[in-house]
Symmetry: C3
Subunit: 155 residues, 3 copies
């Protein structure tokens, strides 16, 4: 299994692994937030979920939408839309053998921008806070895509 060990020795790869874990853990936190709001506010999407919390009351009353839940879900979906490109592009970017310092700069800015995006979305902070954090993460992904296409592209 020497090939897997070699990856563990590469600092660029280790940096990628670290920030992938950070942004994916942050994204997983959104599921926890959604469950928390659904349970504390008794807002459910499925009758079987409402039944587990309604304790004999009218089920229909609990199957509804709630602005706090919808806000967390929009934030979660925005994570999905931006973290998929980060993981996919980041991986092939790492394998295109970039400078450690350049790669770290990309990963740190992306992770920071997504954490600030979540804070901007859930507080919520006035715009353009959230738009700005979104845009910075977007630029990091675009920059990695550019690096990939300009160094190792093979159409």
């Amino acid at each position: 299994m020497s090939i897997l060990k070699e990856f563990g020795d590469s600092e660029v790869f280790r940096a990628f692994a670290t920030y992938v874990a950070v942004v994916l853990l942050k994204m997983m936190l959104m599921s926890v937030f959604t469950s928390y709001y659904r349970i504390t506010r008794k807002v459910f999407a499925n009758p079987e979920d409402a039944a587990a919390h309604a304790k004999g009351g009218d089920l229909k009353k609990f199957i509804r939408t709630d602005e706090s839940v919808e806000r967390v879900r929009r934030c979660h979906l925005n994570d999905i839309e931006n973290i998929i490109p980060f993981v996919g592009l980041g991986l092939v970017y790492v394998l295109s053998n970039p400078e450690l310092s350049t790669a770290l700069l990309h990963f740190r800015i992306f992770a920071g921008s997504r954490i600030l995006h979540t804070i901007s979305y859930l507080t919520p902070l006035p715009q353009p806070s959230r738009a700005l954090t979104f845009f910075i993460g977007f630029l990091v992904n675009a920059s990695m895509a550019y690096a990939i296409l300009s160094t190792i592209s093979y159409f």
Copy 2:
């Protein structure tokens, strides 16, 4: 191309490849389910889809939401929310050189939990069946993130 061959010789990597294929095929099945329900129940989101099935009838009647379709779509979205972390974390976890038996345990439990989650969601089984299957998959992802951060992290 010797480097790609070496991956094919790594049992940990082969196990990861296998379970990634299994959970992604299961997720792709949700698209098939959605299409099946949309066509058999004539429930469409786009006028051009309704036109292809309405055969001259009133289009608007077929552009609506239906609880069976929405259930499949919620199940699909939950897959997306959990399978992205599995693929992303799983890949860097594998490259952090874990024990084969530990890695297999993670992959098998995750794949099993997501298959049971789909069954719980689509039947639907009474809660907490679905909550439990979700939570087990979530723990597997958290455990891989912990393993990554505690062995190869580089901030």
Copy 3:
């Protein structure tokens, strides 16, 4: 860092990296389209977004859904549902050491089908244009899953 350099020398890997960048950039474009429609049509999901564009008018008027925005969002979600399997399966498929010509065929057909899918969805073209483009991308993913499971599976 010799191991990362070796990847850059593999033509199959470089082809994968190229088409991953292409399909993810295409997917990222959907965020740009959504923002464009939201701003030009003044259709927002959050009060703080409406406030930044309403210029003192009634906020509620701008918090609504609009068919053009919803269409882009459905197209974006369909991308997510299909590009996740492509990235995940594609990566382990590449590491299963396929023929360069076979791999290129998969990647080119997938990227082409997703670009045509977006054009079919946003024009919109009459069905079955979009259904067909979706189905072709789906088959490419299924074919890679089959190749993985039949060559390197380890359950």
